[in-house]
């Protein structure tokens, strides 16, 4: 007579899986409305945030001191802010309404290395030449959008480039080399998912016939593969051959966000129907594990990018949940997933709780964006 419980592999206790974030270290106040999106810069020193007040703000990570800000829109929310990967330049992409901006934030006049700032401006500005000369010879059809100067008052603040898509942009994701980034406009139909080439100031719409409403998109961390999530499915595409590879079926009713593990073979998916799903892409198109811990919708999910076996989600119930998630290279063994900590502190405002989460590039620290107008650092 064997107790079936005894046959299950024993999970390690959270204590053995330290370090992971356990408490709130810093509260960033300044936004006058919901904070929609936030991201830690590749050097791990700053947080950028964007909110319903139309502002992008940059903060010192631990002190919470705001070092820079710009108002991008009087009417529209800033829905997405994402740093360009790499420490060779300091470039931030931000989306408000239908507009996408590329920013080389000078922080304040003398707070950034002049060489780095020049490099950043050069990278953003390099495409002007291409748009003028190269495009006419090569392009077969009209470009999806024109990249333009945003006007002198924004240019003075380091906001160097602007382009507009047809519908509100909700998601920005960079390719790891910092040359491409994608945007998602869920209502955009044939232009819902766009891929942009920084050095050419070129916007392309590779998914003319997308089945369903696009929710999010991500580049594979090492292969030329691109993932697009609609409400119920995530499709992976081979970018070089331009063909569908796989249709991943999380079984959720409405996907809010997903993230690709740095190793490339595992996905986490968050859904408005409160589910967090782990997919092992080598195993199945169905989830390897379904985690139901939240009382309300999950808004954002994120793997630790820098080699720590951690991932986090953010929910409208006002909390974040931190998990241990270790991917093993052994094909016979599956990922071990252990819930570690529920982080509470954000206030729920009008049914909305925590709207975004991001990890520090190397440390076990994460930041969250709240409908309560605050960002928080957890360590």
């Amino acid at each position: 007579n064997i107790d079936p419980e005894s046959l299950l592999p024993k999970l390690p206790s959270p204590e053995e899986l330290r370090p992971f974030p356990t408490s709130c270290y810093t509260i960033f106040r300044g936004h006058e409305a919901r904070v929609r999106s936030l991201a830690i810069d590749p050097s791990g020193s700053f947080v950028a945030s964007g909110g319903d007040d139309g502002m992008v703000r940059i903060w010192q990570l631990f002190t919470g001191h705001q070092i820079w800000s710009v108002k991008l829109s009087k009417e529209e929310a800033v829905n997405a802010v994402r740093w360009r990967p790499g420490t060779d330049a300091v470039i931030l992409a931000a989306a408000t309404g239908e507009d996408v901006y590329l920013i080389a934030p000078p922080m304040s006049e003398n707070d950034i290395d002049p060489e780095l700032h020049v490099k950043s401006r050069e990278l953003v500005d390099a495409g002007w030449g291409y748009a003028a000369n190269g495009a006419s010879g090569k392009a077969k059809k009209e470009p999806a959008t024109q990249w333009v100067r945003p006007g002198s008052s924004l240019q003075d603040k380091g906001v160097l480039v602007k382009f507009s898509l047809r519908k509100t942009v909700k998601v920005i994701a960079w390719h790891r080399r910092g040359e491409y980034f994608s945007t998602v406009s869920p209502q955009g139909q044939s232009s819902a998912v766009a891929i942009h080439t920084l050095s050419k100031h070129l916007t392309q719409l590779p998914f003319r016939k997308l089945k369903g409403l696009a929710q999010s998109a991500q580049f594979h961390p090492s292969k030329p593969i691109f993932f697009v999530a609609t409400q119920r499915m995530i499709r992976s595409y081979d970018l070089s051959r331009q063909e569908l590879i796989k249709i991943i079926q999380p079984g959720a009713r409405w996907i809010s966000s997903f993230d690709v593990h740095p190793g490339g073979d595992n996905l986490i998916v968050g859904s408005y129907d409160k589910r967090l799903l782990w997919h092992d892409l080598e195993l199945s198109v169905r989830p390897y594990k379904t985690l139901r811990y939240h009382q309300k919708a999950i808004r954002a999910v994120k793997f630790h990018p820098g080699g720590l076996p951690l991932f986090a989600d953010a929910s409208d119930d006002g909390s974040l949940q931190i998990f241990h998630g270790k991917v093993v290279s052994d094909m016979m063994e599956n990922a071990s997933i252990v819930p570690l900590k529920v982080l509470k502190g954000h206030q729920i405002k009008k049914e909305l709780g925590v709207l975004d989460v991001d990890w520090h590039p190397t440390e076990p620290w994460c930041v969250s964006a709240g409908a309560d107008g605050t960002c928080r650092l957890w360590a």
């Binding site: 509260i27 001191h65 006049e109 060489e115 502190g345």
Partner: protein
């Protein structure tokens, strides 16, 4: 407390068989307060507390002026009666208790707050006993008769205060040769020289001079030192050799001379404002009247922000540094080489040295302070861990009167006073707990403050004349000082 009570108390210790008694063996590590001859085990009543034991030791020492003592039993300061201690620790009264006595650390009482317009990032003291004054005194320079406090502020200004909370000097604005943004570190190099650094990537030295009456003074730019590519977090100064060390978010440490003639020129590409719009450059560009220089050397090996650095207490050709990369490094300055790396478990935000113990203390993001023996012969990385803070430990300073003492400043909004003789051994080695916790006066009545919001401490300094000075997000510099003789049960 009079001599009479002292001798009475001492006389009492042997008799009174009705109450229970315990044998104690008194000892100390300090020769100046050692007993003239070993009295052997002394039988005392178990209802004695710290005060009565202090009286007993003073009687044995035949002190003319009683010295307040504290008592350590098994690494813990006695805070109850001996009887309560024995009961709490399950120790039989039959054994002889080893009792170590030390000079009492006086509870630091709130004295004053100096209001600023913005967050106070850094504090330093100039007094007869401060390092800057001692260096100057050794060199025959006159030291002002009164104490001065230097503060660096997020408004980009340095201020020198007198003890009546009056600002007697303010550094010039950016347009007039001052810092371009928030100050992150400020120190007296000497009674007439100040060093500062901050978000504008620049290390600056300043001439400080007081009018004869001492009521007003001036802070004049002297040198702008360029080289760092990101914010300069902290500074160490050594006046006798005219050297400064700075640490930066750019992962490097730079080594500078405060002498214009000695310092190399600034590389042209490192001068600020070359890349910005010309209209603004003219307004806020570097002041043409201030000389700019480059660094003597760059110390590179850390892989994260360098949070803090110090000159080795007994050898100014050696430096130590702490970093977000979890390590403490030892540097040979003449060769700019990293000669030792000690790895810890978490990002380090602050560093100081306990010279007579050959220990470094490093404040961690993981809410504790790690004591590290940097000598090559040391076998363990962490000699002891000090626990009690609830947020990152971002500033450390040693007790100027007790070589075992230090104070820490934390983003939890408190400063804690520690004595490393006090600690208990557990699974994770020796763990120390703080003697006193200094809260922000501005936080009185606010209860427990989540994430240290509004009260984060950024800098702490401990001077024997002035006391414990701390700068905070509450826009105040706060002074706490031990006053009078320690109470029966300090809290």
């Amino acid at each position: 407390m009079s001599d009479q009570t002292l001798s009475n108390s001492a006389g009492d210790t042997g008799d009174s068989a009705s109450t229970s008694q315990v044998r104690i063996q008194l000892s100390t590590r300090h020769p100046d307060i050692a007993l003239p001859e070993n009295p052997g085990p002394i039988l005392v009543n178990t209802n004695l507390r710290r005060y009565a034991l202090s009286t007993l030791v003073n009687a044995l020492l035949q002190s003319e002026k009683p010295i307040p003592f504290e008592f350590l039993i098994n690494g813990t300061f006695l805070r109850t009666t001996l009887d309560q201690y024995l009961t709490a620790n399950g120790i039989s009264a039959e054994i002889t208790l080893n009792v170590e006595y030390v000079r009492a650390i006086i509870p630091p009482v709130y004295l004053a707050s100096f209001q600023h317009d913005e967050w106070v990032s850094s504090v330093d003291v100039l007094s007869k006993t401060s390092p800057a004054a001692i260096w100057a005194g050794n060199a025959g320079t006159k030291v002002p008769g009164q104490e001065r406090i230097l503060s660096g502020c997020y408004d980009g200004l340095l201020r020198v205060w007198n003890m009546s909370s009056e600002v007697i000097a303010t550094s010039p604005s950016a347009d007039e040769g001052g810092a371009h943004s928030a100050i992150l570190a400020a120190k007296f190099i000497s009674p007439t020289q100040i060093a500062s650094s901050g978000l504008d990537r620049t290390v600056r030295t300043w001439e400080y001079s007081e009018d004869a009456d001492g009521f007003s003074a001036s802070i004049t730019p002297k040198l702008e030192l360029h080289g760092h590519k990101m914010a300069v977090n902290s500074l160490a100064v050594h006046h006798p050799s005219s050297r400064i060390l700075s640490t930066s978010q750019d992962h490097s440490i730079r080594f500078w001379s405060t002498k214009k003639s000695e310092a190399p020129p600034t590389p042209e590409n490192l001068l600020p404002s070359t890349s910005f719009k010309s209209s603004k450059r003219q307004k806020t560009g570097s002041s043409p009247t201030t000389a700019t220089r480059g660094s003597l050397s760059e110390l590179k090996s850390h892989t994260g922000q360098v949070s803090d650095t110090i000159f080795a207490p007994n050898d100014h050709t050696v430096a130590y540094s702490s970093s977000w990369d979890h390590t403490v490094k030892t540097w040979d300055l003449p060769s700019s080489r990293c000669i030792d790396t000690r790895s810890t478990s978490a990002a380090l935000f602050s560093l100081t040295a306990l010279p007579s113990l050959n220990l470094l203390a490093a404040g961690s993001v993981a809410r504790h302070i790690t004591l590290i023996d940097p000598r090559a012969s040391a076998t363990t990385v962490s000699a002891m861990t000090l626990r009690g803070h609830s947020n990152a430990v971002v500033s450390l300073a040693v007790d100027p009167q007790n070589s075992y003492g230090l104070v820490s400043g934390s983003h939890d909004g408190t400063c804690r006073v520690w004595d490393v003789r006090s600690g208990t051994s557990g699974n994770e080695g020796k763990v120390g707990h703080s003697l006193y916790c200094i809260e922000r006066e501005s936080a009185k009545g606010r209860g427990k403050i989540a994430a240290g919001e509004g009260v984060k401490v950024f800098s702490v300094c401990w001077d024997s004349d002035v006391g414990i000075v701390s700068g905070s997000e509450d826009k105040r510099m706060q002074i706490n000082r031990g006053k009078g003789i320690v109470g029966e049960q300090p809290s």
